[in-house]
Symmetry: C2
Subunit: 160 residues, 2 copies
């Protein structure tokens, strides 16, 4: 249809915006919007060992994480506890209220996700999610390396 239909960045942006919009509707008044949901998920099921680990996992700046957690804590959904092993770090754990809220949010988010993916057949949806997951795990693992990586300089130069 347009010149951008096959552009990887354009397609990614369109889908990401659609997802964020649908998700922010789905979570309602949850502090932090769609990121609040991800924080709650990680706090409930991943037992993050520190706030900074959470930041790296979710791609959120540490100064932003501070006030996102402030809001979630004010809503009694998570608590910050000093880690026994290292009192500099804070363990982020979901409260009972938070876990109950997450169960409800999971249902809503599944609907939002289905809405975004509605343009694909079920087997295509599964294939897309599988490919995205594989790529994301790889990209997330590679990310810390990227900053010092020669590849980015090649990209910047445009002439490898």
């Amino acid at each position: 249809m347009t010149a951008l239909d096959d552009d990887f960045g354009w397609t990614l942006g369109v889908i990401f915006r659609a997802y964020v919009k649908a998700t922010n509707v789905a979570v309602g008044d949850l502090p932090g919007g769609h990121r609040g949901y991800q924080i709650l998920t990680a706090a409930t099921r991943d037992q993050p060992e520190s706030q900074s680990a959470l930041c790296q996992q979710l791609g959120i700046d540490r100064t932003v994480m501070t006030y996102l957690l402030d809001d979630l804590e004010r809503a009694s959904l998570v608590t910050r506890r000093p880690a026994p092993a290292d009192r500099r770090t804070r363990l982020v754990v979901a409260t009972e209220t938070g876990r109950a809220r997450l169960a409800d949010l999971d249902r809503r988010l599944a609907m939002a996700e289905a809405h975004v993916l509605a343009g694909l057949a079920p087997d295509e949806q599964a294939a897309l999610k599988s490919l995205l997951s594989k790529l994301a795990v790889h990209a997330n693992a590679a990310d810390p390396v990227d900053n010092a990586c020669q590849a980015l300089q090649d990209i910047a130069a445009g002439t490898p």
Copy 2:
């Protein structure tokens, strides 16, 4: 690995951030970063009939588009011309400089894209791009409807 590895929103966010980061490195000092590239692409190959059409296509707010185009125009990459048929609207056309710059940017962006997709095999990359394109075209077409759509209310209610 983590509870979010299979979360559609998390994978999408990780990949989108990786793409934006790689792309913003690749375009260098281009005004508007990765969005400047998309505007330049659309202006060169799509002949957008108005700024607002461009906004809808790229998912950019109209007030943001104003100063993005200001910057691109200041860099002599595009020009705004009043449309002959409707003098309210502005035709956004790429200059000769802009088209030349775009040819160079295409090479750099291809490298950035390859870098982001490096975690997948070639046939998987093709499959992913195909699925994303199909879904994005659908989502983009459905987007204007969404605002008034019953689906979003169902999502918000959480109980269809």
